[in-house]
């Protein structure tokens, strides 16, 4: 159920799942994902929406090899991640996938620049001059040139989240997984951060998969996937917009739409 990609696209598929199921075995068995089939192509910007507890974050964690599915396969850049060793998974998280979380999760002990360089230093011990220059270029691009040597606790929430986005991009990954990246920001900073992700997506050809509660931001994505009761289905953007507008008219939307 719910396989969802346009077929005339020739860009390579960077993320694919096949019958992905996830059940948590605690005191009681809690099935979260019932069978997710989805594909994301290189350079796409995909929004995942759904109710709280619908399994959005679980899906994202599985895609980023932080969690393992109970059943089904995950192919990242063509590789079945179930076949990877501990080191292989670490390398995948380091070089193929980048993460952005709701909280910036920068290391307090490190400056903005050092934080951004962490994925590179983890894999190589030391960043080269070129890498540092490239990363500083990205930080300038998102308006952080004056914050390079500041530590997270002296920067604003929006600045920290921008820094975290550049960290996710530092090793030039193919996919960035963003779990409610604007969820902890006021709407102005949230917009800024989203716009930066969209720009990075367009400029660098990195695929973004963004879990969000914010329908307004989801509208800005290339595609919208909705997770409902553990199943995924593609939402028609026009249809979604109509629904959104109608709910706005009823006055039930929390925030006004962008622009």
């Amino acid at each position: 159920m719910g396989a969802t990609t346009t077929t005339d696209d020739t860009r390579p598929i960077v993320v694919a799942t096949d019958g992905l199921k996830k059940t948590y075995f605690g005191k009681i068995e809690t099935p979260v994902l019932h069978g997710i089939d989805m594909e994301v192509r290189a350079g796409e910007f995909v929004a995942i929406i759904g109710q709280s507890g619908s399994g959005k974050s679980t899906l994202l964690n599985i895609l980023g090899a932080l969690d393992v599915p109970s059943e089904g396969r995950v192919l990242i850049d063509g590789v079945d991640i179930a076949t990877l060793s501990e080191e292989g998974l670490a390398a995948l998280r380091n070089r193929v996938v980048g993460f952005v979380f709701q909280f910036h999760y920068l290391l307090d002990e490190l400056s903005c620049l050092e934080n951004v360089l962490t994925p590179i230093t983890i894999s190589k011990g030391e960043a080269s001059e070129e890498e540092i220059a490239r990363v500083i270029g990205l930080l300038k691009r998102v308006g952080l040139e004056s914050q390079l040597h500041k530590h997270p606790d002296t920067m604003s929430g929006g600045q920290n989240q921008r820094c975290a986005i550049i960290r996710a991009l530092a090793n030039q990954p193919k996919i960035v997984l963003a779990d409610e990246p604007t969820g902890n920001l006021d709407s102005r900073s949230g917009n800024e951060v989203f716009n930066i992700m969209r720009e990075m997506n367009r400029e660098n050809g990195v695929a973004f998969i963004m879990v969000t509660h914010d329908d307004r931001l989801a509208q800005e994505a290339d595609r919208i996937l909705m997770i409902e009761d553990g199943w995924v289905h593609e939402v028609d953007k026009g249809e979604h917009r109509t629904k959104l507008l109608s709910s706005l008219e009823k006055g039930s939307a929390q925030r006004p739409g962008p622009n």
């Binding site: 932080l66 995948l92 993460f99 999760y105 290391l107 994925p119 983890i122």
Partner: protein, 419 residues
């Protein structure tokens, strides 16, 4: 930041992060470094004191006695119960039969040459020793007579050092040096003449050249070798060869070696005083034991602080794993932190411990005997090998203590800790 370039590339991320953790750790870092330092201080202080006391006791006991005494083998009395072979035939005449024996070392020149060639031997002094009486008109007093070359005797059991009147070196054959207690008992002073009768029955009239006070033992009389020989009717022989060694606790080996080379008995001081040596060993063992316990205690303190630290950093550990850090890298970060704490603690502990030991070595005792250099109030020994040993032990135990929390950190699951 330049020091980091010495670290292999593969370890740089871990080293840098570990250093950052330590530098931003504040109170926690200080607490753990303090725990290691405390352990090291305890060990340094304890070993310094224990070995200082051991040194002083040993010195007090052995400086005035020969370390090895070589004499003619004498039959030891054997309890009848141990003479199983003799069975019904045994009789008590056994000891009596063997009693009249040659008691002199006639070939002492040869023996002295042989003994001097044994490693660790400092001095081998041929001497005559025996019991006798000293008198001046009135009652005789028992004396232990030693006849030996004064200059060499000073090296074996110092006399000149303890003189309170007169002289010892340059003693003439009609002169004697006696101890203060004996002089007091006989009411004599330097220049007076006394009679000394040996257990062999010979008597000499000798003039007192010096009086010494050693603070231990009484009734000593020192004469020249020649006078001793004539007092005991030994002709040209001696009855003991007194040996001093360089390494006190190697005197047993010297005694064994001498016995294998010459047909005489060699007794080392440590075999003469077995209970003293064993009490020293008990002391040393308890010092090691207490050191071990203090290391274990500080290891527990370090482990528990580091466990709390790892829990505090669990979110960060999750983040690092989500951006590609491997288990082994996380393990390294926290193990390196343990190593950093270990080195900082060991070095500061060694410095403070040595300083404390140095400071308590300064106060001196009120001297008991006039004219003597006063002893330290607290006998302490600053022993580099124990300081380095304490540092090494602390470093090893700290790293071992850090391994447990580090393993725990490495095994953390990122989604559990970031949820």
């Amino acid at each position: 930041m330049n020091a980091i370039s010495l670290v292999p590339l593969k370890w740089r991320f871990e080293t840098r992060l570990a250093l950052r953790h330590l530098m931003t750790g504040g109170g926690q870092t200080l607490l753990t470094v303090g725990a290691v330092a405390a352990g090291v201080i305890v060990i340094i202080f304890l070993t310094a004191l224990i070995f200082g006391i051991r040194g002083r006791l040993t010195k007090t006991l052995t400086e005035a006695i020969p370390h090895v005494i070589i004499r003619v083998r004498q039959p030891q009395p054997v309890p009848l119960s141990e003479l199983q072979d003799l069975g019904a035939a045994m009789s008590s005449s056994r000891i009596e039969k063997q009693a009249p024996q040659m008691k002199f070392i006639d070939d002492w020149q040869h023996v002295v040459d042989v003994v001097r060639a044994v490693p660790n031997v400092r001095i081998a002094l041929p001497a005559v020793q025996g019991q006798g009486f000293a008198s001046k008109g009135g009652n005789p007093f028992g004396v232990t007579i030693t006849g030996a070359d004064p200059a060499q005797q000073d090296e074996v059991s110092p006399v000149s050092r303890d003189l309170i009147a007169g002289r010892y070196v340059g003693l003439a054959s009609d002169e004697v040096v006696i101890d203060y207690e004996l002089a007091k008992d006989m009411s004599v002073s330097v220049g007076d003449r006394i009679r000394i009768t040996s257990s062999a029955g010979n008597t000499e009239n000798l003039s007192i050249a010096g009086i010494y006070s050693r603070g231990q033992g009484r009734g000593g009389a020192y004469v020249t070798l020649r006078t001793g020989q004539s007092l005991f009717a030994m002709g040209n022989s001696v009855n003991v060869i007194l040996v001093k060694v360089n390494q006190l606790f190697g005197s047993d080996e010297v005694a064994d070696r001498v016995e294998s080379l010459v047909p005489y008995e060699a007794r080392s001081w440590s075999r003469e005083y077995p209970s003293f040596v064993s009490s020293l060993n008990v002391q040393a063992a308890s010092a090691y034991l207490i050191s071990g316990f203090s290391l274990i205690a500080s290891s527990f303190a370090i482990a528990s602080v580091l466990i709390v630290f790892v829990l505090q950093k669990s979110k960060q550990i999750g983040i690092l794993k989500s951006i590609g850090a491997t288990r082994i890298q996380i393990l390294r970060v926290f193990t390196l932190e343990g190593l950093g704490i270990a080195f900082a603690g060991a070095i500061s502990g060694a410095v403070i411990g040595t300083l404390i030991v140095y400071l308590i070595s300064l106060p001196l005792q009120k001297t008991a005997r006039p004219g003597h250099v006063p002893d330290q109030l607290f006998p302490v020994a600053i022993l580099p090998e124990y300081i380095f040993g304490a540092m090494l032990a602390a470093i090893i135990s700290t790293v071992v203590a850090a391994l447990f929390p580090a393993r725990r950190a490495a095994q953390m699951n990122p989604i559990d800790v970031m949820r």
